[in-house]
């Protein structure tokens, strides 16, 4: 079992290729649509954490307070393609090297991954209970009031969270593109036999 630790070593990430699966011990931060938009509009000095050090997780958790402490109920990935309009700018400006979500992303992100030695990984959609088990502590939450629970930046301390399957790598490979081509070929074949 391959386990990467945060702060992330950019050289380790460059070696990752599509089809590799790994786990993370360290810190993940969540970011959805509104979080991307907010951070991109902010001045550097106002940003409360360093997005280059940790893995970014496209996730809006089910989370609640128990005895004054945040407890994660379930935390699976959200659909990443919604973030396509922000992600290349985000990677360029903040240097995030590991992006985790579901469903894959498109060309703009793939180019940014290549340029900056980053990867996109799929965490299994719906596997929120498994992730909640790997989250050992909610280290912090930023902009909760402005963004609300699902959109806020949650800093999760995780132990062996995963598996994360690399589906887009820094060499320009994308499993999502490959599967889409394959499926469209298969569809023509299947329909011809109807």
């Amino acid at each position: 079992m391959k386990v990467l630790e945060t702060p992330i070593d950019p050289e380790e990430v460059k070696k990752l290729r599509v089809g590799d699966a790994f786990y993370i011990t360290g810190t993940l931060f969540t970011a959805r649509d509104a979080a991307h938009e907010l951070l991109l509009e902010m001045d550097d000095e106002d940003i409360p954490f360093d997005p280059s050090k940790y893995a970014m997780f496209h996730c809006g958790p089910a989370i609640h307070k128990e005895d004054g402490e945040w407890k994660v109920v379930s935390a699976g990935p959200t659909t990443s393609i919604r973030l396509e309009i922000f992600e290349d700018d985000f990677i360029e400006r903040f240097g995030t090297k590991i992006i985790i979500g579901k469903g894959g992303m498109a060309d703009r992100t793939l180019k940014a991954l290549q340029k900056h030695g980053a990867v996109y990984c799929q965490y299994t959609g719906g596997a929120g209970a498994l992730m909640a088990n790997a989250i050992k502590e909610v280290e912090d939450v930023y902009f909760l009031e402005e963004l609300g629970i699902p959109e806020a930046f949650w800093m999760f301390r995780v132990e062996e969270a995963g598996p994360f399957l690399v589906t887009m790598d820094s060499a320009g490979n994308s499993i999502h593109d490959d599967v889409a081509k394959e499926v469209s070929k298969n569809l023509e074949k299947v329909k011809a036999e109807l």
């Binding site: 109920v73 299994t124 929120g128 498994l130 490959d178 599967v179 499926v183 299947v190």
Partner: protein, 290 residues
């Protein structure tokens, strides 16, 4: 004998908990079979995580997915059932209480103001479908439905002349088009005929039938089997990373149609096919059924 309202609500909350913390047994066994079939590493990684996640949900009574869905009920209401008004109120209040108690993610948003009600209830929500049947009992099918799979639903008002071949094309096109987005391997509900509203409702209702169980009418059963096989030839695979298992099953329901219309509704359910049942008998005794 009278029904005890508190007992009913308690059972409905437990039914919702049962639903959101596991998948149906037939779904789980279909996922296990899929794992045996898959050869590609990526597909296996996804299915392993899915099955491990199901174990965690069950053993810890934890919602398996953070999207605990829109609370949806299909009620088979006996014509002589005595407490229908009370049942309706209890469904609403149980959803509110379950949101707090389980807890569920608040998923009911006013479409005009964008304000989340915070308790999973709102105008026409929870979504309750009433079907009047013979008898004096009530059976409540609980099917919380996630947004990711619901977003991939499709209704096509097909030109009737395209016939059954057209139906097959529409279903297969949609399964290819939605790719990994509805969290495959999915179970596909298909509604044929009726008007636009009925076709969509039948597509969702079709999902209540267990995975692996064929339609009682042989001609529909055959159509289900053909679509199941062809859908799995598409190669979308678990979570869209490629593989042999794109759908676990295809369930079809139909209604007679207007001569000029042929509605075809396609409605996917994610691999997290979460369901439970609550039964109320004629004496007011309430029971949660897996």
């Amino acid at each position: 004998m009278n029904m005890n309202r508190a007992d009913l609500e308690e059972n409905l909350i437990e039914g919702i908990r049962e639903a959101v913390t596991s998948v149906t047994d037939d779904t789980e066994s279909a996922l296990k079979d899929a794992k045996e079939r898959e050869e590609k590493e990526g597909a296996k990684v996804q299915l392993d995580a899915i099955l491990e996640n199901i174990d965690v949900g069950k053993s810890e009574k934890r919602p398996i997915c953070q999207d605990t869905g829109t609370q949806t009920f299909f009620v088979e209401l006996g014509a002589d059932f005595k407490w229908s008004g009370e049942l309706k109120n209890a469904l609403n209040s149980s959803v509110k209480k379950a949101t707090e108690k389980i807890p569920l993610r608040p998923n009911a948003v006013d479409p005009i103001s964008d304000k989340n009600s915070g308790d999973n209830t709102g105008r026409f929500i929870p979504s309750i479908h009433w079907d009047i049947v013979d008898g004096d009992e009530a059976m409540i099918h609980i099917i919380p439905k996630g947004g990711g799979s619901e977003n991939m639903s499709k209704l096509e008002m097909m030109t009737p002349g395209r016939g059954l071949k057209g139906v097959k094309e529409i279903v297969l096109d949609q399964i290819a088009e939605m790719a990994g987005k509805p969290c495959p391997p999915t179970t596909i509900g298909v509604g044929l005929g009726g008007g636009a509203d009925l076709a969509m409702e039948l597509a969702k209702k079709a999902l209540l039938r267990p995975v692996g169980e064929r339609h009682a009418e042989e001609r529909i059963a055959k159509l289900e089997e053909e679509l199941l096989e062809k859908a799995n030839d598409l190669g979308v695979g678990p979570m869209g990373v490629g593989g042999k298992t794109t759908v676990l099953d295809v369930k079809i329901e139909y209604a007679h149609r207007h001569p000029a219309s042929y509605p075809v509704a396609v409605l996917p359910q994610c691999w997290a096919n979460r369901q439970a049942k609550v039964k109320i008998d004629s004496e007011g005794e309430v029971e949660v059924i897996r």
